[in-house]
Subunit: 564 residues, 2 copies
């Protein structure tokens, strides 16, 4: 712990100069918005070190069936019951902490942190990101065995891509805090001969303690933007992970606390509140009088409850997306079907960006100069899914495992109630016996079945909906977004007028639209520094990763004015 | 109405090129934050034109006892019962409009407006500001005879300073919308030999219809920031003026509708919803499903009701300030008392920035090298008030009139309940018989009377509170801010340690602090482009004029991605 006399940490300042180049490049990337992944996405020993993979495995194994030590206040006993979707019980035991104690400790810890300079706080955040990045293999295992993602996705989305999103939010907060100079000389002519001069100083003042409610599928990716936006702007953070996906956030909290401590700050700026499905503590946390910021990722119903009830706080939500695909006309049906099949299979539709409803005219679509009927379009998609999942090992890597048993029940229920174009089947994982792996269920419905397409079927459940024509497809996709919320939209058309109408209708209701994807880019992907994730313009959420609105309301600029 | 084929208004584009320099300078001023009033604050014929004063008077007289024509939809009959605090009934009759009709018309009008370019929308806003500025004399009379402000203040705060605040919000919105380029070429290397390239376009999408709830004391100054932030970002606006201060906003709405119409847009982008104290319509408006943004200025209780109930909207509030002064030590008591007396008298304490509680140690304060007792400090302040108000004509100009009869009742009640250091007296206005003019009531209490200083006494009511020492004064001022909300703070001390402690304690709870004011600058003044008005960190409000957070949540950036 190295604290200079002015209360400014020299370690914090050192972290800033060490990582300043990365922050500057990130701020720049916010406005160019080209491809950028500051944290390398390839899990290669050449990048991460030859022993990184083995070290990560060892670290992960060390957590199993053991106590996870966090040394945070108000703790009494242990808690935790995570089950890997790949079959095993993790057996990690976390401290059981008291909500009030964590919030109070966070408030107390802010007294020093909020007075540190923007650079010092940003330096600490950059160092946390840097250390998280070095531990990406360890985090990958933790993400994999809580969310059910395949290893590659766990590494990328749980590691570097999550870190990219954290850096993006930090850069955005840094930009917004530095719009205003810290000192200003203000002069006003008050008569022909006299001028009054004042020295104004501006101070960044944080809102207060922040609560982050994590989800079960992307515990790090969905949490890091809020974590770094809050810390950078001077707030303390209590992280409440989903009871089924604690470990990735526990590791994150431990790393953050270590860095804060080394930089001379109170580690209680970042704490972990673990609860269980049987005794949830989220409501108590997010409506706590001293909690002034809430970030939430999860179901629409509980997110809406928070929006309506946590009125003492600034609330940022990412809820569910009922995402639509509009198929009108294509050049190459095979490539389109392959791209769509990958989007459908990736992590078994458990991404909030995964497509669910595929609207196809009952009379079929144009493919080049021909018309291909609805049945053949359906068969092309089903065939592409079958082909993609042909090799069980590859299938398991792409599909991952089903995070929650409730999703398996949902698959069974949907299959029993609707016309099935492709049944869901179970797949044996070559390495993890007992892994919960189910291939996508493809259903068929029509535009007269709103109870099917207006509703979220979370998991590997996709529905092809026969419409009277593409105009109706667009209208329905737009209605789904408006009434049920959509996070992504995919359109295939070779007709510029239809493209323009569909893009207008969908963006009007806050759906970003991918048009004619037929290569490796999937509609599911949202890249930091280029793609805005969730628009906040429909019920799928009220906030965006990452725009000014996501960061600017987490702090205020408060002025002091003195005669010069 | 001049609309180019692409739906982009040529008049709108023309307005932008005509006023672009003003916008650029305003964006620049947001980051330098030095003195800036783009709209001249001196009501001089040399600036505004030799006939401007007379034209303004004539225009105002023309509104009296007549119908105010707005030609907006859903109107049925007339409404309006404004009484000038200077004595006369205005007799202006406004259209009585239906909430649902105005909200629907706003939604419909947005279809074209949101598709206009950022430049076109900004050009229209700049032209509205330009025309408002030319009509500043007319607006001054309207503000004076609804709010009770003296003429000079009505001109400045109701005219150019309000226009400055509108321009500031517009510039801030422009900056935030243009952070992101409209087109991006995005390339990702997908293998050693292959790269995929996508063309991404970003569209600014507004949230929806916005409601602005005006107040009775600063109808234009408190409304323009939201009006221009909303319009610039593509939203429609329904303005609900206070039933006692309609005319300044009716004139504003008329000007905005004229400019919108000339630029080829639907004038229903800006409409006026007039109600009465007996049949208020604010709750219905702000909780309307299609209202997605609410800006409110007014009482804390109703503002808090909106924050808790208008959960379908992004809510921005400016509520009441119980503002404190901490007197510890001064160099020149006379100059300090004169400055404070002016702050107390200006517009009879009816500014949300006016001081209310003056904390003074019971043992007195240091003045230079001497100690001056509490009674003498009190006498210096009372004496300075008496001197400032010595000439009745000047007194009337400074005090203005009391906007609401309820404030007069409050003065009487306070005088009967507490120890009076200076009684409030009525003053005859030399030109307006029947004007409601009451000089400040100065009361005395102690730190054991929280029921006095924790509560807002809106109007010309000031209380000197004897404390055990300056530490207690600081503690109480900080508690008032935290629990009752403060918008401004004033500190007088010659001790650097006390200054630093007080500044920290007050800014921590979101109170901007003026230190040692003894010249013409008053704690009440909040200048556009330099001072942030309301911090949003205590119960005095949740939003600030004007930071990124004030504008960034009024729109989203929605992306379209196509293979290049």
């Amino acid at each position: 712990m190295t604290v200079a006399s002015g209360g400014v940490s020299t370690a914090g300042a050192g972290f800033f100069s060490q990582h300043e180049g990365m922050l500057e490049a990130a701020v720049q990337a916010l406005s160019t918005r080209t491809y950028k992944t500051p944290f390398p996405e390839i899990p290669s020993g050449k990048i991460y070190g030859e022993t990184a993979a083995a070290d990560g495995q060892t670290a992960f194994d060390g957590y199993l069936n053991a106590s996870f030590v966090l040394d945070q206040p108000g703790s009494d006993g242990e808690i935790g019951d995570e089950q890997s979707p790949f079959g095993m019980a993790l057996g990690v035991r976390y401290p059981r902490s008291d909500v009030n104690a964590l919030v109070s400790a966070g408030r107390a810890a802010m007294a020093h942190w909020r007075n540190a300079s923007i650079e010092t706080r940003s330096g600490v955040c950059l160092e946390i990101l840097h250390r998280l990045n070095k531990r990406s293999f360890e985090l990958a295992h933790a993400v994999m065995h809580t969310t059910g993602q395949g290893f590659m996705m766990s590494f990328q989305a749980g590691g570097p891509h999550a870190q990219d999103r954290g850096l993006e939010a930090l850069a955005c907060a840094y930009r917004e805090m530095t719009h205003v100079p810290s000192e200003v000389a203000w002069e006003k002519r008050i008569s022909k001969t006299d001028t009054e001069t004042y020295a104004k100083t501006q101070r960044i003042v944080p809102r207060g303690v922040a609560a982050i409610v994590g989800c079960s599928t992307f515990p790090t990716w969905n949490t890091y933007p809020a974590l770094f936006a809050n810390l950078a702007t001077g707030n303390a953070v209590v992280i409440k992970p989903h009871a089924g996906a604690i470990l990735p956030l526990a590791i994150t909290v431990k790393i953050a606390r270590d860095v804060l401590n080394e930089a001379g700050f109170d580690p209680n700026l970042v704490t972990l509140l673990v609860d269980t499905a049987d005794a949830p503590e989220t409501k108590q946390l997010v409506t706590h009088d001293d909690v002034r910021i809430v970030d939430y990722t999860g179901s629409t119903s509980f997110g809406s409850w928070i929006e309506e009830n946590a009125t003492q706080a600034a609330v940022f939500t990412e809820k569910a997306g009922v995402n639509c695909v509009v198929l009108d006309s294509v050049d190459d049906l095979k490539r389109v079907a392959e791209n769509l099949a990958f989007s459908i299979c990736l992590y078994s539709g458990q991404m909030c960006t995964s497509p669910q409803n595929v609207f196809v005219p009952a009379d079929g679509i144009r493919v080049g100069s021909e018309t291909v009927g609805f049945e053949d379009v359906a068969q092309a998609i089903v065939g592409a899914i079958d082909k993609l999942l042909g090799d069980p090992k590859m299938a398991c890597e792409i599909l991952g495992a089903i995070q929650s048993e409730a999703t398996v029940t949902r698959i069974e229920k949907a299959a029993g109630a609707l016309k099935v174009l492709r049944p869901s089947n179970t797949i044996e994982h070559p390495m993890h016996a007992g892994a919960r792996i189910h291939s996508p269920l493809v259903l068929q419905a029509t535009s007269s079945d709103p109870e099917v397409f207006m509703k979220e079927w979370f998991g590997p459940i996709v529905c092809l909906i026969a419409t009277s024509d593409t105009s109706e497809s667009i209208e329905l996709a737009s209605r789904v977004a408006r009434e049920s919320g959509s996070i992504t939209g995919l359109l295939h058309t070779t007709d510029p007028t239809i493209e323009s109408n569909a893009v207008a209708a969908l963006t009007d209701v806050g759906v970003p639209v991918c048009v004619n994807l037929a290569g490796q880019k999937l509609v599911n992907h949202a890249s930091a520094f280029s793609d805005f994730h969730v628009s906040g313009l429909n019920v799928s959420g009220n906030a965006t990763f990452c725009d000014s609105a996501f960061v600017a309301n987490r702090f205020r600029t408060v002025q002091v004015c003195r005669p010069a």
